[in-house]
Symmetry: C2
Subunit: 248 residues, 2 copies
């Protein structure tokens, strides 16, 4: 394979993942528009800001941030890193709006906060996402960390990045289920159109998660290391072979 050239199948898989991701966002919008009265910051519709922001931020954009190193293969490593970090910032800000929306909605309605498994998983995702971002910034963007420190931390960053993304997908499924059961109750079992649409949305969320992970897991789709950094740092592939990295 030409150094830096994308593997032949990769663009198709990436395109498919984007199609899935955009379908998930569109279907969340359709669900909220068709069955939940749409979106607004004031009134009861404020709740609906929550699922939409979470799906855009913590599902679609977080997933795409993970794919940055597979898509941008020839650009300077530093540019790709900054794009990766920025996408996560945008994802985090959108998710924060979604978080404020639901807490504000609960407050106005006098509902209790943080009692459900969905909310516990959601807060866990938020805390881990923030810590992971700070760790990534300190190790990979600030010049302070040595190359051997970066090399040792890199596999951990990748594993926990994938784990936080998957936990986000799981948390979305729990939230979707909660929203369905609170509103439909036993009508859920009569195959109400809203229930069927939401189930399909749930399966699409799972599919987006699997598609992103599949692209990340293919060893020969990893970003090739380039001359500029080969001279400076260790390649991830070398790392995963278990050799201990030596600073150069």
């Amino acid at each position: 394979m030409e150094h830096g050239a994308a593997p032949a199948a990769l663009p198709y898989y990436v395109a498919f993942s984007q199609l899935l991701g955009l379908t998930v966002v569109a279907m969340t919008g359709a669900w909220l528009g068709l069955y939940r009265g749409g979106i607004a910051w004031e009134s009861s519709l404020q709740f609906n800001v929550h699922p939409l922001c979470m799906v855009i931020g913590l599902i679609f954009l977080q997933g795409d941030a993970l794919l940055v190193y597979r898509v941008f293969r020839k650009e300077a490593k530093r540019t790709t890193k900054i794009l990766h970090g920025l996408l996560h910032v945008v994802a985090f800000i959108i998710a924060l709006v979604g978080l404020v929306a639901v807490f504000d909605f609960h407050k106005k309605k006098g509902y209790a906060d943080l009692y459900s498994l969905h909310s516990w998983c959601g807060i866990l995702v938020f805390v881990l996402y923030f810590v992971q971002w700070l760790m990534g910034l300190s190790f990979f963007l600030f010049p302070g960390a040595s190359f051997s420190m970066r090399s040792r931390y890199r596999p951990q960053h990748i594993f926990f990045g994938a784990a936080i993304f998957l936990l986000s997908v799981g948390t979305a499924l729990l939230g979707l289920k909660e929203a369905l059961l609170f509103k439909l109750g036993t009508k859920y079992s009569t195959f109400e159109p809203e229930g069927v649409l939401a189930n399909v949305l749930g399966l699409l969320l799972v599919s987006f998660g699997v598609a992103v992970l599949y692209i990340l897991a293919q060893a020969d789709w990893k970003r090739p290391s380039q001359a500029e950094e080969q001279a400076l740092s260790m390649d991830f592939k070398t790392l995963t072979e278990g050799d201990s990295p030596s600073p150069q």
Copy 2:
């Protein structure tokens, strides 16, 4: 590292994962015993067979089957393969009992089947698990497949094995949430003891999933290839470097 010797930290991580897995099983039993009247095949208690069997089969045993190649590092590869396959058979049979229990319970009560996201994900897990097992059997245990076929299929088998396990964890969370909301309804928001216990169980399910995946993801914890098979087949490590395997 001595060839075949376990990396120093691995046993502690495996022990921790087992502690988590057993706690999940015990806590599921405690939840059903304390708040759901216990377990029986006849009567309404038949439903309770479902979560217990699923947690034992599709969470604990499925997870442990994935760890077999990390735990048994010096045994013959064929023995390890057979243990891996057998653990999955036992997991599948226990899960099948859990599946029959819920369908039989629904039938006796006149409840609808397969309307919820939990049930859709559950059936998906069952079908994928069965297909994955059959594929594994055909490629790795029957002598028919060539070494190059095995080498090409191995990374796919590993990826989809991990994906099916994670989907099982996600499906369990959805089922737990469903069982809570059906019974507690709005009382869930008053921090009922059952709700809190089930939330903790949910977080422990997530932790078990993360622990198993973490052990699988460590590159230098992979089972070393042994002389017997090095002469015959390709090592996974070589594969993941993206070299095309050549039949020998």
